[in-house]
Protein backbone atom coordinates (compact mmCIF):
# COMPACT_ATOMS: atom_id res chain seq x y z
CA UNK A 1 0.00 0.00 0.00
CA UNK A 2 1.20 3.51 -0.75
CA UNK A 3 0.93 6.55 1.51
CA UNK A 4 -2.49 7.38 0.14
CA UNK A 5 -3.73 3.84 0.79
CA UNK A 6 -3.74 2.75 -2.85
CA UNK A 7 -1.89 -0.21 -4.35
CA UNK A 8 1.84 0.12 -5.07
CA UNK A 9 3.92 -1.04 -8.00
CA UNK A 10 4.87 -4.73 -7.89
CA UNK A 11 8.31 -4.77 -9.44
CA UNK A 12 8.25 -8.36 -10.67
CA UNK A 13 4.91 -8.20 -12.44
CA UNK A 14 3.67 -6.75 -15.73
CA UNK A 15 0.82 -4.27 -15.17
CA UNK A 16 -0.81 -2.43 -18.07
CA UNK A 17 -0.56 1.35 -17.83
CA UNK A 18 -3.82 3.17 -17.12
CA UNK A 19 -5.17 5.12 -20.08
CA UNK A 20 -5.21 8.44 -18.24
CA UNK A 21 -4.44 9.91 -14.83
CA UNK A 22 -8.13 9.62 -13.90
CA UNK A 23 -7.86 5.83 -14.17
CA UNK A 24 -4.60 5.55 -12.26
CA UNK A 25 -4.68 3.46 -9.08
CA UNK A 26 -0.95 2.82 -8.57
CA UNK A 27 0.90 5.85 -7.26
CA UNK A 28 3.56 7.28 -9.57
CA UNK A 29 2.70 5.06 -12.51
CA UNK A 30 2.95 6.62 -15.96
CA UNK A 31 -0.19 6.64 -18.11
CA UNK A 32 -0.64 5.68 -21.75
CA UNK A 33 -1.66 9.27 -22.45
CA UNK A 34 1.54 10.61 -20.88
CA UNK A 35 3.70 8.14 -22.82
CA UNK A 36 2.12 9.08 -26.15
CA UNK A 37 2.44 12.77 -25.27
CA UNK A 38 6.10 12.28 -24.35
CA UNK A 39 7.04 10.75 -27.71
CA UNK A 40 4.95 13.31 -29.60
CA UNK A 41 6.14 16.40 -27.74
CA UNK A 42 9.80 15.64 -27.30
CA UNK A 43 10.59 13.70 -30.48
CA UNK A 44 7.68 14.46 -32.82
CA UNK A 45 6.67 10.79 -33.06
CA UNK A 46 3.02 10.64 -34.07
CA UNK A 47 0.67 8.98 -31.61
CA UNK A 48 -0.59 6.77 -34.43
CA UNK A 49 2.78 4.95 -34.46
CA UNK A 50 1.78 3.30 -31.16
CA UNK A 51 -1.93 2.86 -31.96
CA UNK A 52 -1.69 -0.96 -31.94
CA UNK A 53 0.64 -1.21 -28.96
CA UNK A 54 -0.09 -1.53 -25.25
CA UNK A 55 2.25 -0.19 -22.54
CA UNK A 56 3.19 -1.98 -19.34
CA UNK A 57 5.25 -1.37 -16.21
CA UNK A 58 7.47 -4.05 -14.73
CA UNK A 59 10.25 -2.93 -12.43
CA UNK A 60 10.13 0.53 -10.88
CA UNK A 61 9.55 2.95 -13.71
CA UNK A 62 10.58 0.49 -16.41
CA UNK A 63 8.01 0.57 -19.22
CA UNK A 64 7.51 -2.04 -21.93
CA UNK A 65 5.77 -1.76 -25.30
CA UNK A 66 3.82 -4.76 -26.59
CA UNK A 67 2.12 -5.14 -29.99
CA UNK A 68 -0.78 -7.20 -28.65
CA UNK A 69 -2.80 -6.88 -25.46
CA UNK A 70 -3.41 -9.52 -22.78
CA UNK A 71 -4.99 -9.56 -19.33
CA UNK A 72 -3.30 -7.41 -16.67
CA UNK A 73 -1.48 -8.25 -14.49
CA UNK A 74 0.29 -10.56 -16.93
CA UNK A 75 1.98 -13.68 -15.54
CA UNK A 76 4.80 -13.67 -18.07
CA UNK A 77 8.56 -13.02 -18.07
CA UNK A 78 8.70 -10.70 -21.05
CA UNK A 79 6.25 -8.54 -22.97
CA UNK A 80 7.51 -6.87 -26.13
CA UNK A 81 10.51 -4.64 -25.45
CA UNK A 82 11.56 -2.09 -22.86
CA UNK A 83 10.64 1.34 -24.13
CA UNK A 84 11.10 4.03 -21.46
CA UNK A 85 12.52 4.63 -18.01
CA UNK A 86 10.03 6.69 -15.97
CA UNK A 87 9.60 7.59 -12.27
CA UNK A 88 12.46 10.07 -12.70
CA UNK A 89 12.47 13.76 -13.62
CA UNK A 90 13.46 13.22 -17.25
CA UNK A 91 12.13 10.12 -18.95
CA UNK A 92 14.73 8.15 -20.89
CA UNK A 93 13.98 6.15 -24.04
CA UNK A 94 15.73 2.80 -24.42
CA UNK A 95 18.21 2.02 -27.18
CA UNK A 96 15.92 -0.73 -28.43
CA UNK A 97 12.85 1.52 -28.70
CA UNK A 98 14.97 4.20 -30.37
CA UNK A 99 16.11 1.73 -32.99
CA UNK A 100 12.58 0.38 -33.48
CA UNK A 101 10.54 3.61 -33.48
CA UNK A 102 13.12 6.39 -33.84
CA UNK A 103 12.79 6.67 -37.61
CA UNK A 104 9.46 8.43 -36.99
CA UNK A 105 11.16 11.17 -34.94
CA UNK A 106 11.36 14.72 -36.30
CA UNK A 107 13.18 16.60 -33.51
CA UNK A 108 15.74 16.17 -30.76
CA UNK A 109 17.66 13.82 -33.03
CA UNK A 110 21.37 14.31 -33.43
CA UNK A 111 23.18 12.89 -36.44
CA UNK A 112 26.74 11.77 -35.82
CA UNK A 113 29.48 11.33 -38.41
CA UNK A 114 30.81 7.78 -38.57
CA UNK A 115 33.80 8.19 -36.28
CA UNK A 116 31.64 9.87 -33.60
CA UNK A 117 29.02 7.11 -33.99
CA UNK A 118 31.76 4.56 -33.29
CA UNK A 119 32.77 6.44 -30.12
CA UNK A 120 29.14 6.61 -29.05
CA UNK A 121 28.60 2.87 -29.63
CA UNK A 122 31.71 2.09 -27.59
CA UNK A 123 30.12 3.94 -24.66
CA UNK A 124 32.41 6.98 -24.71
CA UNK A 125 31.29 10.56 -24.01
CA UNK A 126 32.34 13.27 -26.45
CA UNK A 127 32.40 17.06 -26.68
CA UNK A 128 30.36 18.46 -29.53
CA UNK A 129 28.23 21.43 -30.49
CA UNK A 130 24.46 21.18 -30.45
CA UNK A 131 22.20 24.20 -30.48
CA UNK A 132 18.98 22.36 -29.61
CA UNK A 133 17.48 21.30 -26.28
CA UNK A 134 19.59 19.66 -23.63
CA UNK A 135 18.58 16.27 -22.32
CA UNK A 136 18.04 12.89 -23.93
CA UNK A 137 18.57 12.94 -27.70
CA UNK A 138 18.00 10.22 -30.26
CA UNK A 139 21.34 9.54 -31.92
CA UNK A 140 21.41 8.63 -35.60
CA UNK A 141 24.12 7.96 -38.15
CA UNK A 142 24.20 7.04 -41.81
CA UNK A 143 23.90 3.37 -42.66
CA UNK A 144 23.45 2.04 -46.20
CA UNK A 145 22.80 5.52 -47.50
CA UNK A 146 20.16 6.74 -45.04
CA UNK A 147 20.11 8.00 -41.45
CA UNK A 148 19.38 5.20 -38.99
CA UNK A 149 18.55 5.60 -35.28
CA UNK A 150 21.22 4.00 -33.10
CA UNK A 151 20.58 4.86 -29.46
CA UNK A 152 20.16 7.54 -26.82
CA UNK A 153 22.65 10.18 -25.71
CA UNK A 154 22.39 12.70 -22.88
CA UNK A 155 23.43 16.17 -24.05
CA UNK A 156 24.56 18.54 -21.28
CA UNK A 157 27.28 21.23 -21.01
CA UNK A 158 28.64 20.77 -24.52
CA UNK A 159 29.01 17.03 -24.12
CA UNK A 160 27.11 14.08 -25.57
CA UNK A 161 27.13 11.25 -23.03
CA UNK A 162 26.61 7.80 -24.44
CA UNK A 163 23.71 5.96 -22.81
CA UNK A 164 24.43 2.73 -24.71
CA UNK A 165 23.96 -0.06 -22.14
CA UNK A 166 27.11 -2.05 -21.35
CA UNK A 167 25.78 -5.18 -23.00
CA UNK A 168 25.18 -3.35 -26.30
CA UNK A 169 28.54 -1.57 -26.51
CA UNK A 170 30.91 -2.56 -29.29
CA UNK A 171 34.31 -1.50 -30.58
CA UNK A 172 33.92 -1.46 -34.34
Amino acid sequence: MSDDGGPTNVGTRFDRLPATAAERTVSGRATREAVLAFWANRYGIDRAVFADHSFWERGAGKLWVFRDDIDSPAEVQGLGMTVLRTRQEHWKPTLEATQRFGRHATRNCIRLPQSAAEQFLAGRDQSLDWDGDWGYLLVTHELAGDPEPLGVGLYVHGELRSMVPKGRRREL
Binding site: D52, H53, V65, F66, R67, D68, I70, D71, A74, E75, V76, Q77, G78, L79, G80, M81, T82, E96, Q99, R100, L121, L143, A144, G145, D146, E148, L150, G167, R168, R170, L172
Partner: protein, 303 residues
Protein backbone atom coordinates in the same frame (compact mmCIF):
# COMPACT_ATOMS: atom_id res chain seq x y z
CA UNK B 1 33.04 -41.63 -34.75
CA UNK B 2 30.73 -44.30 -33.35
CA UNK B 3 27.76 -41.96 -33.33
CA UNK B 4 28.00 -41.50 -37.09
CA UNK B 5 28.44 -45.25 -37.68
CA UNK B 6 25.00 -45.66 -36.27
CA UNK B 7 23.39 -43.74 -39.12
CA UNK B 8 25.32 -45.16 -42.06
CA UNK B 9 22.48 -47.59 -42.89
CA UNK B 10 20.17 -44.57 -43.31
CA UNK B 11 22.25 -42.38 -45.60
CA UNK B 12 22.67 -42.77 -49.35
CA UNK B 13 26.42 -42.00 -49.38
CA UNK B 14 28.15 -42.76 -46.08
CA UNK B 15 31.56 -41.50 -47.24
CA UNK B 16 30.20 -38.11 -48.26
CA UNK B 17 28.15 -38.01 -45.05
CA UNK B 18 31.24 -38.59 -42.90
CA UNK B 19 33.35 -36.12 -44.86
CA UNK B 20 30.70 -33.41 -44.56
CA UNK B 21 30.37 -33.99 -40.81
CA UNK B 22 34.10 -33.28 -40.44
CA UNK B 23 34.03 -29.97 -42.36
CA UNK B 24 33.48 -26.77 -40.37
CA UNK B 25 30.29 -24.88 -41.12
CA UNK B 26 30.45 -21.37 -42.57
CA UNK B 27 28.77 -18.59 -40.58
CA UNK B 28 25.42 -17.38 -41.86
CA UNK B 29 23.13 -14.45 -41.08
CA UNK B 30 19.41 -13.93 -41.58
CA UNK B 31 18.20 -10.47 -42.61
CA UNK B 32 15.61 -9.24 -40.11
CA UNK B 33 12.72 -7.76 -42.09
CA UNK B 34 11.36 -5.93 -39.01
CA UNK B 35 14.29 -3.53 -39.31
CA UNK B 36 15.80 -3.81 -42.78
CA UNK B 37 15.25 -4.84 -46.37
CA UNK B 38 17.59 -7.40 -47.93
CA UNK B 39 18.95 -4.69 -50.25
CA UNK B 40 19.87 -2.32 -47.41
CA UNK B 41 21.42 -5.11 -45.37
CA UNK B 42 23.47 -6.18 -48.36
CA UNK B 43 24.65 -2.60 -48.92
CA UNK B 44 25.61 -2.32 -45.24
CA UNK B 45 27.59 -5.59 -45.41
CA UNK B 46 29.38 -4.37 -48.54
CA UNK B 47 30.12 -0.96 -46.96
CA UNK B 48 31.54 -2.75 -43.91
CA UNK B 49 33.83 -4.79 -46.13
CA UNK B 50 32.29 -8.10 -45.08
CA UNK B 51 32.39 -10.82 -47.71
CA UNK B 52 28.96 -12.35 -48.14
CA UNK B 53 27.04 -14.54 -50.54
CA UNK B 54 23.32 -15.03 -50.73
CA UNK B 55 22.04 -18.56 -50.09
CA UNK B 56 20.26 -19.66 -53.25
CA UNK B 57 17.42 -21.38 -51.41
CA UNK B 58 16.32 -18.64 -49.01
CA UNK B 59 15.94 -14.95 -49.93
CA UNK B 60 16.94 -13.54 -46.52
CA UNK B 61 20.04 -15.63 -45.84
CA UNK B 62 23.67 -14.66 -46.42
CA UNK B 63 26.74 -16.82 -45.84
CA UNK B 64 29.77 -15.04 -44.38
CA UNK B 65 32.78 -17.07 -45.54
CA UNK B 66 35.36 -14.99 -43.62
CA UNK B 67 33.64 -13.21 -40.72
CA UNK B 68 31.80 -13.71 -37.46
CA UNK B 69 28.29 -12.26 -37.57
CA UNK B 70 28.44 -10.00 -34.50
CA UNK B 71 30.90 -7.11 -34.92
CA UNK B 72 29.51 -4.81 -37.59
CA UNK B 73 27.00 -1.97 -38.00
CA UNK B 74 24.10 -3.92 -39.53
CA UNK B 75 24.32 -6.42 -36.65
CA UNK B 76 24.36 -3.62 -34.05
CA UNK B 77 21.17 -2.25 -35.59
CA UNK B 78 19.44 -5.62 -35.51
CA UNK B 79 19.31 -5.86 -39.28
CA UNK B 80 21.10 -9.23 -39.10
CA UNK B 81 20.94 -12.25 -36.85
CA UNK B 82 23.58 -14.96 -36.80
CA UNK B 83 21.75 -18.20 -37.45
CA UNK B 84 22.82 -21.52 -38.81
CA UNK B 85 21.61 -21.80 -42.36
CA UNK B 86 19.45 -24.92 -42.07
CA UNK B 87 17.84 -23.67 -38.85
CA UNK B 88 15.78 -21.08 -40.76
CA UNK B 89 13.83 -24.02 -42.17
CA UNK B 90 11.23 -24.78 -39.44
CA UNK B 91 9.84 -21.23 -39.17
CA UNK B 92 9.74 -21.09 -42.98
CA UNK B 93 7.75 -24.34 -43.03
CA UNK B 94 5.41 -23.14 -40.27
CA UNK B 95 4.87 -19.94 -42.32
CA UNK B 96 2.83 -17.89 -39.85
CA UNK B 97 0.66 -15.07 -41.20
CA UNK B 98 0.53 -11.51 -39.85
CA UNK B 99 -2.00 -11.20 -37.04
CA UNK B 100 -1.98 -14.87 -36.02
CA UNK B 101 -1.33 -16.38 -32.58
CA UNK B 102 1.76 -18.58 -32.56
CA UNK B 103 3.50 -20.60 -29.85
CA UNK B 104 7.25 -21.25 -29.89
CA UNK B 105 7.53 -24.08 -27.36
CA UNK B 106 11.32 -24.03 -26.90
CA UNK B 107 12.18 -20.46 -27.76
CA UNK B 108 15.56 -19.47 -26.29
CA UNK B 109 17.86 -18.04 -27.50
CA UNK B 110 15.30 -16.80 -30.01
CA UNK B 111 16.68 -17.27 -33.53
CA UNK B 112 13.53 -19.00 -34.71
CA UNK B 113 11.23 -16.99 -32.41
CA UNK B 114 12.38 -13.72 -33.94
CA UNK B 115 12.10 -15.22 -37.41
CA UNK B 116 8.46 -16.06 -36.66
CA UNK B 117 7.86 -12.50 -35.45
CA UNK B 118 9.42 -11.14 -38.65
CA UNK B 119 7.29 -13.40 -40.85
CA UNK B 120 4.26 -11.93 -39.03
CA UNK B 121 5.48 -8.35 -39.61
CA UNK B 122 5.69 -8.01 -35.82
CA UNK B 123 1.87 -8.22 -35.54
CA UNK B 124 -0.40 -10.72 -33.79
CA UNK B 125 1.13 -12.65 -30.90
CA UNK B 126 4.14 -14.92 -30.50
CA UNK B 127 4.37 -16.68 -27.16
CA UNK B 128 7.94 -17.83 -26.56
CA UNK B 129 8.39 -20.44 -23.83
CA UNK B 130 11.58 -21.75 -22.33
CA UNK B 131 12.12 -24.10 -19.41
CA UNK B 132 15.62 -22.84 -18.60
CA UNK B 133 15.55 -19.62 -16.59
CA UNK B 134 19.12 -18.79 -17.57
CA UNK B 135 18.09 -18.65 -21.21
CA UNK B 136 15.23 -16.18 -20.74
CA UNK B 137 17.53 -13.12 -20.64
CA UNK B 138 19.31 -14.00 -23.92
CA UNK B 139 15.92 -14.61 -25.52
CA UNK B 140 14.68 -11.21 -24.40
CA UNK B 141 17.91 -9.52 -25.46
CA UNK B 142 17.87 -11.00 -28.96
CA UNK B 143 14.20 -10.13 -29.43
CA UNK B 144 14.83 -6.53 -28.34
CA UNK B 145 17.87 -6.11 -30.60
CA UNK B 146 15.82 -7.37 -33.51
CA UNK B 147 12.98 -4.94 -32.70
CA UNK B 148 10.36 -7.58 -31.88
CA UNK B 149 7.35 -6.21 -29.96
CA UNK B 150 4.76 -8.99 -30.49
CA UNK B 151 6.50 -11.50 -28.20
CA UNK B 152 5.34 -12.61 -24.75
CA UNK B 153 7.86 -14.78 -22.91
CA UNK B 154 6.93 -17.49 -20.42
CA UNK B 155 9.27 -19.50 -18.22
CA UNK B 156 7.74 -22.93 -17.77
CA UNK B 157 8.06 -26.55 -18.79
CA UNK B 158 6.52 -26.61 -22.26
CA UNK B 159 4.93 -29.99 -21.46
CA UNK B 160 2.65 -28.14 -19.03
CA UNK B 161 2.30 -24.89 -21.01
CA UNK B 162 -0.54 -22.78 -19.63
CA UNK B 163 -2.86 -20.75 -21.86
CA UNK B 164 -4.15 -18.89 -18.81
CA UNK B 165 -2.25 -15.61 -19.42
CA UNK B 166 -3.58 -15.65 -23.00
CA UNK B 167 -7.34 -15.97 -22.47
CA UNK B 168 -7.21 -19.73 -22.88
CA UNK B 169 -7.39 -19.19 -26.63
CA UNK B 170 -5.66 -21.92 -28.68
CA UNK B 171 -2.94 -21.04 -31.17
CA UNK B 172 -3.14 -20.94 -34.96
CA UNK B 173 0.32 -22.47 -35.21
CA UNK B 174 3.03 -23.89 -33.00
CA UNK B 175 6.74 -24.43 -33.52
CA UNK B 176 8.21 -27.36 -31.61
CA UNK B 177 11.95 -27.10 -32.13
CA UNK B 178 12.88 -29.28 -29.20
CA UNK B 179 16.05 -29.66 -27.15
CA UNK B 180 17.81 -32.67 -28.66
CA UNK B 181 21.10 -34.54 -28.74
CA UNK B 182 22.24 -32.08 -31.46
CA UNK B 183 24.06 -34.69 -33.54
CA UNK B 184 23.46 -32.57 -36.61
CA UNK B 185 25.49 -29.68 -35.16
CA UNK B 186 28.70 -31.75 -35.19
CA UNK B 187 30.18 -29.43 -37.83
CA UNK B 188 30.21 -26.47 -35.46
CA UNK B 189 30.63 -28.33 -32.19
CA UNK B 190 32.58 -31.58 -32.19
CA UNK B 191 31.84 -32.00 -28.45
CA UNK B 192 28.56 -33.65 -29.42
CA UNK B 193 30.59 -36.71 -30.39
CA UNK B 194 32.18 -36.98 -26.95
CA UNK B 195 29.00 -36.22 -25.04
CA UNK B 196 26.90 -38.64 -27.07
CA UNK B 197 25.14 -41.50 -25.29
CA UNK B 198 22.09 -43.63 -25.89
CA UNK B 199 20.77 -42.62 -22.44
CA UNK B 200 20.86 -39.02 -23.52
CA UNK B 201 18.87 -39.78 -26.64
CA UNK B 202 16.27 -41.75 -24.74
CA UNK B 203 15.93 -39.05 -22.10
CA UNK B 204 15.47 -36.38 -24.73
CA UNK B 205 12.91 -38.47 -26.55
CA UNK B 206 10.63 -38.59 -23.51
CA UNK B 207 10.64 -34.83 -23.09
CA UNK B 208 10.15 -34.30 -26.84
CA UNK B 209 7.03 -36.47 -26.83
CA UNK B 210 5.52 -34.47 -24.00
CA UNK B 211 6.22 -31.14 -25.67
CA UNK B 212 4.86 -32.15 -29.07
CA UNK B 213 1.76 -33.61 -27.42
CA UNK B 214 1.15 -30.33 -25.58
CA UNK B 215 1.64 -28.34 -28.78
CA UNK B 216 -1.06 -30.34 -30.54
CA UNK B 217 -3.37 -29.82 -27.54
CA UNK B 218 -3.01 -26.04 -27.50
CA UNK B 219 -3.35 -25.56 -31.28
CA UNK B 220 -6.79 -25.06 -32.80
CA UNK B 221 -8.41 -27.60 -35.09
CA UNK B 222 -7.07 -26.99 -38.58
CA UNK B 223 -3.97 -25.32 -37.14
CA UNK B 224 -0.39 -26.27 -37.96
CA UNK B 225 2.40 -27.66 -35.78
CA UNK B 226 5.96 -27.99 -37.03
CA UNK B 227 8.29 -30.40 -35.23
CA UNK B 228 12.03 -30.10 -35.74
CA UNK B 229 15.36 -31.21 -34.30
CA UNK B 230 19.00 -30.86 -35.26
CA UNK B 231 19.67 -34.54 -34.74
CA UNK B 232 19.72 -37.75 -36.75
CA UNK B 233 18.43 -40.19 -34.12
CA UNK B 234 15.08 -41.71 -35.13
CA UNK B 235 14.30 -42.05 -31.39
CA UNK B 236 14.09 -38.23 -31.27
CA UNK B 237 12.41 -37.81 -34.64
CA UNK B 238 10.13 -40.41 -36.22
CA UNK B 239 9.51 -42.19 -32.88
CA UNK B 240 8.25 -38.91 -31.37
CA UNK B 241 5.92 -38.34 -34.32
CA UNK B 242 4.68 -41.93 -34.14
CA UNK B 243 3.91 -41.52 -30.43
CA UNK B 244 1.89 -38.32 -30.90
CA UNK B 245 0.02 -39.62 -33.95
CA UNK B 246 -1.23 -42.40 -31.70
CA UNK B 247 -2.18 -40.13 -28.80
CA UNK B 248 -3.68 -36.95 -30.23
CA UNK B 249 -5.89 -35.94 -33.15
CA UNK B 250 -3.43 -34.83 -35.78
CA UNK B 251 -1.93 -35.96 -39.05
CA UNK B 252 1.35 -35.50 -40.85
CA UNK B 253 1.05 -33.45 -44.03
CA UNK B 254 3.20 -33.17 -47.15
CA UNK B 255 5.25 -30.06 -47.73
CA UNK B 256 7.92 -28.89 -50.14
CA UNK B 257 11.32 -27.47 -49.24
CA UNK B 258 13.98 -26.10 -51.56
CA UNK B 259 16.71 -28.33 -50.06
CA UNK B 260 17.79 -31.86 -50.89
CA UNK B 261 16.47 -34.27 -48.30
CA UNK B 262 15.34 -37.82 -47.69
CA UNK B 263 12.01 -38.98 -46.25
CA UNK B 264 11.52 -40.02 -42.63
CA UNK B 265 12.32 -43.64 -41.83
CA UNK B 266 9.61 -46.16 -40.96
CA UNK B 267 11.89 -48.74 -39.34
CA UNK B 268 14.72 -48.39 -36.89
CA UNK B 269 16.50 -51.04 -34.84
CA UNK B 270 13.50 -53.35 -34.68
CA UNK B 271 10.86 -50.66 -34.19
CA UNK B 272 8.38 -49.73 -36.90
CA UNK B 273 6.62 -46.39 -37.17
CA UNK B 274 3.41 -45.12 -38.73
CA UNK B 275 4.02 -45.03 -42.52
CA UNK B 276 3.01 -41.33 -42.51
CA UNK B 277 6.37 -40.44 -40.93
CA UNK B 278 7.77 -40.67 -44.47
CA UNK B 279 6.24 -37.20 -44.93
CA UNK B 280 8.89 -35.80 -42.56
CA UNK B 281 12.19 -34.60 -44.03
CA UNK B 282 15.68 -35.69 -43.02
CA UNK B 283 18.46 -33.36 -44.05
CA UNK B 284 21.99 -34.71 -43.90
CA UNK B 285 25.06 -32.46 -43.92
CA UNK B 286 26.36 -33.71 -47.28
CA UNK B 287 23.10 -33.05 -49.11
CA UNK B 288 23.21 -29.24 -49.03
CA UNK B 289 26.49 -28.52 -47.19
CA UNK B 290 24.58 -27.52 -44.03
CA UNK B 291 24.15 -28.91 -40.54
CA UNK B 292 21.92 -31.95 -40.08
CA UNK B 293 18.22 -31.40 -39.51
CA UNK B 294 14.82 -33.04 -39.19
CA UNK B 295 11.50 -31.35 -39.88
CA UNK B 296 7.87 -32.49 -39.92
CA UNK B 297 4.60 -30.64 -40.45
CA UNK B 298 1.39 -31.68 -38.69
CA UNK B 299 -2.21 -30.55 -39.00
CA UNK B 300 -4.40 -30.64 -35.91
CA UNK B 301 -7.56 -32.48 -36.89
CA UNK B 302 -9.71 -32.25 -33.76
CA UNK B 303 -11.33 -35.18 -32.03
Amino acid sequence: MSMLDRYEPLVDDPDRFRAACRRPLPHAVRVNSIKSSVARAETALTDAGIAHERADWHPRLFRLPEDQPGANWPYVHGWLHGQEEVSVLPATVLSPEPGERVWDACAAPGSKTTQLAALMNDTGLVVGTDANVGRIAPLRSNAERLGVTNLAITHEDARNHSLRPFDGTPYDRALVDVPCSCEGTVRKNSDVLEEWSLDRIEGASGVQRGILRRAVEVTREGGTVVYSTCTFAPEENEAVLDFVLGKRSCRLVDFDIPLDHTPGVTEWQGDTFDPAVRRAKRIYPHQNDTGGFFCAKLEVTGS
